[in-house]
């Protein structure tokens, strides 16, 4: 299927997932998702896609070397009594 039968809902769906709709708009979107199988599937996919993106792109932690370099950038000012 190359063309969405609910193309006009697409922007609304993105806003809904981003938490960018007000309460009334969000309720309208939810009602539509309950009624429209096509949009509901797209909603599930979009939600999973974002989660997948976040998980995939967050896999690489900061290196210990960088952590040490950043800490070394601190000022030398330490209040008396602090280590």
């Amino acid at each position: 299927m190359s063309e969405s039968p609910c193309a006009k809902c697409e922007r609304l769906l993105q806003l809904y997932l981003d938490g960018g709709l007000n309460e009334i708009e969000a309720r309208e979107a939810e009602n539509h998702l309950d009624d429209c199988g096509y949009c509901h599937r797209q909603y599930r996919f979009e939600r999973a896609f974002r989660e997948h993106l976040r998980k995939t792109l967050s896999e690489e932690p900061m290196s210990p070397e960088l952590r040490i370099k950043l800490a070394a950038l601190r000022s030398d000012v330490r209040p008396a009594g602090d280590p």
Binding site: S2, H52, L57, L66
Partner: protein, 197 residues
């Protein structure tokens, strides 16, 4: 009166030193979260590490401009995105001229086609067809203006408003760039599946 002045000045200095140390500790405690976003705002791991060091050097110098109690991660990322732009590293790519008005759902359709799955197929299993390098490459290939908003919202989990403040752009621009960025990303990923065939 004049005898008390040195004491007062000394106390103020000591307080300032404590505030500064508190700031530095808080900024460092956010470094992992900032790096997660920085890694994908920059084009490579090396660039991200350089940007992190420049950001923290600047943050530690400008610590007085941070308002305690406000969003430290957003404050640091605002410095970082400005430095990223200033460094002129950003080779601007023009967004494709072709229409983005169709095919937003093509990634889903393509994933279903390539796995030969029906409509009830589990989304996560479909998405596992996309390799990490496919996703990183598709993100890196996005025009910077689009990548910035997508990384801040989808990875950094900032609101539209916070993203607008970090990038110093209107909220409407955040929304339109985000919309286009997601479309471009999905089109690009759909394309990478096509190439694997």
């Amino acid at each position: 009166m004049s005898e008390q002045a040195p004491d007062t000045a000394g106390r103020e200095l000591a307080e300032e030193a404590r505030d500064r140390v508190r700031f530095e500790e808080e900024a460092l405690s956010r470094a992992d979260q900032v790096y997660q976003v920085a890694r994908h705002l920059a084009g490579s791991k090396e660039e991200a590490e350089e940007l992190m060091q420049e950001t923290y050097a600047r943050a530690f110098r400008s610590w007085r401009s941070y308002t305690p109690g406000t969003n430290m991660r957003a404050w640091l990322l605002r410095i970082l995105t400005n430095l990223n732009i200033d460094r002129g590293r950003r080779k601007q790519r023009r967004p494709p001229e072709r229409s983005l008005e169709e095919g937003d759902y093509s990634l889903y359709d393509r994933l279903e086609e390539t796995t030969g799955a029906g409509s009830s197929e589990d989304e996560e299993r479909l998405l596992n067809r996309l390799s990490q390098s496919d996703i990183v490459d598709a993100l890196t290939a996005l025009p910077h203006d689009f990548r910035d908003v997508l990384v801040l919202v989808d990875l950094g989990e900032f609101s539209y408003q916070e993203t607008a403040q970090i990038l110093s752009i209107p909220i409407g621009t955040v929304m339109s760039r985000l919309h286009r960025a997601r479309r471009l990303l999905k089109q690009s990923l759909a394309g990478s599946l096509e190439n694997e065939r």
